[in-house]
Amino acid sequence: MGIIKRYHYQLDFYSINNQTKNKQMKNLVILGAGTAGTMMANHLHHQLKQPDWQITIIDERVEHHYQPGYLFLPFDIYSPTDIIKTIEEFIPKDVKLLKQQINKILPKDNIIELGSGDALYYDVLIIATGAKIAPEETEGMKGSEWQKSVFDFYTFEGALALRNKLRDWQGGKLVVHITEMPIKCPVAPLEFAFLADSFFKHKHLRDKVEITYVTPLSGAFTKPKATEALEHLLDEKGIMIESDFAIEQVDNENKKIIDYGGREIPFDILVTVPTNKGDALIERSGMGDDLNYVPTHKATLQSKEYANIFVLGDASNIPASKAGSVAHFEAEILTDNILRFVKGEPLKEEFDGHANCFIETGGGKALLIDFNYTHEPVEGSFPFAGIGPLRLLKESRMNHMGKLAFRWIYWNVLLKGTHIPFVSATMSEKGKHYETVQH
């Protein structure tokens, strides 16, 4: 399409620009071909077509990972082949896929600089570069015990190393820990603790394993009703909870974590969720907050600084959960807004922070929570008011089947940008037991 040129700054910048202008073809560029970027490519290619539009999506990776599967990998519930496919098979043919590292966004010039030195001009940009772990943010976390007795399960390598460790671990102190909020899928560490409980029961080792859940929050979760339900479950499963723990360092030698207040928690295995951050590309571009998230309008998903830049998924700073389900709801609304933007129409302020998460509770059961910016998760039925079949905030086998089905839905429905029947992008209050509507 001729939109890529060797990047010899000034001079070529104009030639890139003119070239696209002459052709009258406009460029929409998507950064990141993970959950959110892939969904946007699938939504938009029906609407913004050649010869008027060229859509390009860029990712440095070849593989698309089903990240929710990382939770199951350490317990040998899923194997690597269950959760890895190629990026390419989910990208429509008329969308150009570039396998390249993205170095920088030059938002004032509408230019993307690639790792190879090439550059790309855009009329409209979508940032979907996600979030990743940054263990180096905590003193000693990536120390001598890293992947020996200190593990993460937020990366494929981490989950796999942990699987190998758990396969023949004979028991001791297992500490499941969150470094700081926000993190992707904030319920995942709790699910890990629940699944660990079941896993060791199965292996007849439960009485040899002490499980402690350590969180910087004041309780098991961020929303009061769900916290109550989840703390009850922790208690039932004999999992201890240490709250308000703000970690200062991992002491590799004595195998303990220490917080700023001097509190110490010893471990034999530490399963930690390190600080999560947006990609360093955001920092290099001078576009992020102190965790490299892009300031984004929470109802329209437009960047707060640049009108032709939109952000969705884990890369934005909006106060919604960093979850695939959220990215799915965002993608439906963002598609509309991008079409409005290119027509010069006002954007819809529609995104309400809708999140919908299954919480695996072990023993073949799961909980389901549904919430948004203003409404916390409560009990009730989903998606059909009064009928279900899924129960909100109550453990059930049906919810567990839902969680397992989610993987199929992810590969076959979500990524392709197909609307899920009966589940709307904005949250429904029907069939839910709210006492009072909150602010």
Partner: protein, 102 residues
């Protein structure tokens, strides 16, 4: 709900945070600190004022942010307001509990 403190009636939420910052004054701040077993030193006041100012400028508060503020490091923040410093300090400052977590 209503609460009488330092001879004044203030409105607080179920966790004891003021719902209207206009009701706050330094006497109330001191009384709230006493409830948290803290005696406010000039250093505490610097932090309280800093938090109020950030809140006024609609900056989302987090422990990480305060650590990078140049005013206190996280260690000192913990020494000043033990256990859960951000929650305690914002309560004394009469501003909402930070919703840093989703």
């Amino acid at each position: 709900m209503e609460k009488t403190i330092a001879g004044k009636t203030i409105t607080v939420n179920e966790e004891g945070y003021l719902t209207d910052f206009n009701q706050w004054d330094e006497k109330i701040g001191e009384a709230l600190a006493t409830e948290a077993n803290i005696t406010l030193s000039p250093r505490h006041w610097e932090v309280v004022k800093y938090l109020q100012n950030e809140q006024k400028n609609q900056v989302a508060l987090s422990i990480r942010r305060i650590g990078k503020s140049g005013l206190v490091d996280i260690k000192e923040f913990y020494q000043l307001f033990p256990n859960a410093p951000l929650k305690t300090a914002t309560k004394i400052a009469g501003i909402p509990k930070p919703a840093s977590c989703i």
